[in-house]
Symmetry: C2
Subunit: 205 residues, 2 copies
């Protein structure tokens, strides 16, 4: 028999899915709580019972997306042929994630300098998940003997992740620290792949 | 015989030097045009004749500092024993420049999200100067045969400079994109040296 909690969880899940579709297709600013309630044939009061405002709903959807992203990385763990392959997977998965969900992130672009702390917590968790996965790969590769032993794998992986994060498009002014334009994503991907290859090459020899 | 222009240039130079000392020791926000005029025994009216407001004076001092910085890099050009040495010089010179003039940059910390475009122009020029210098070193080293030929030295150097720019301190949240704290500079320097060594090692082999 379904418990109250189960029913609530299913309802929450449906709200998150409908909201994600709205945010993805119309962006955060053009989506209203009214429309989401309408999509679900749900009263506005009930929607507000689950999520007191649009930004909290957005954060909840973001958390779900981040979990899916990290699950994708986790599923691939153990299947990499070498460190280069693992970083390529990470860079490509990250690229696909941003490219596929690009409109969803208009909230980031709109509120760049003033994102709520909960969003940064999620970004931090994703970063931590990427770090853990790649540290694990480094340790595996050291054990396999494909790269030289590294004293501090976590520091080295964090250094490369920070370096990859620093990559910018050629056309950007030095000032630019904003969320990339959609048409810039491919240039960033190619540059990140190149950077990771040079870096890993530098570790190996 | 000194022309009017010479006299004006000397006066301007003195204003920039006095302002730099004030900005360096008391920071931008705690420095007043009154104090600068006082330091120079100059009327406020005359000071305002040369620089209409404090922010324009600051930008002029910044430009002078940037020129000195680029001159230091230029003077060293041609004296590097290899690419690693050149990047170490660049990273250390950059570190010393920020550390020595740390208080001067309180303007950056205070106005982080809203710096005037002229400041970003200067930052862009410095970046361009670093890029040109290091591209030159890459070309020299390729000619000497110490590194493999590179198709696109400017892209490779820009990639490493961006990567170095992305380096952050371990204690920083993922969000942090702000001007570094003074006590973080040394950690950044050490990490940047490590990153440049791995990268250059990756180019060579």
């Amino acid at each position: 028999m379904a418990t109250t909690t189960d029913v609530q969880d299913i309802k929450k899940e449906k709200i998150l899915e409908a909201s994600f579709q709205r945010f993805l297709h119309y962006g955060y600013s053009k989506t209203t709580m009214n429309e989401i309630a309408g999509d679900l044939s749900m009263s506005k009061a009930l929607l507000y019972y689950y999520f007191p405002d649009k930004s909290q709903l957005y954060v909840a959807v973001m958390r779900k997306l981040a979990d899916d992203y990290l699950n994708n990385l986790q599923k691939a763990a153990g299947s990499f042929i070498d460190l280069k392959n693992a970083f390529e997977f990470q860079i490509n998965t990250h690229h696909d994630f941003i490219a596929k969900n690009y409109n969803f992130f208009d909230f980031f672009r709109l509120n760049e300098q003033n994102l709520p702390g909960t969003i940064w917590d999620i970004v931090g968790e994703v970063h931590k998940g990427e770090l853990d996965l790649l540290v694990n790969v480094v340790e595996t590769e050291v054990a396999k003997g494909t790269i030289k032993p590294i004293d501090n794998p976590a520091d080295i992986v964090a250094l490369l992740l920070d370096a990859l994060h620093g990559v910018r498009v050629s056309a950007a002014s030095y000032k630019k620290i904003v969320f990339p334009q959609k048409e810039e994503l491919e240039e960033l991907r190619v540059k990140r792949l190149l950077l990771s290859r040079i870096f890993i090459n530098g570790l190996a020899s």
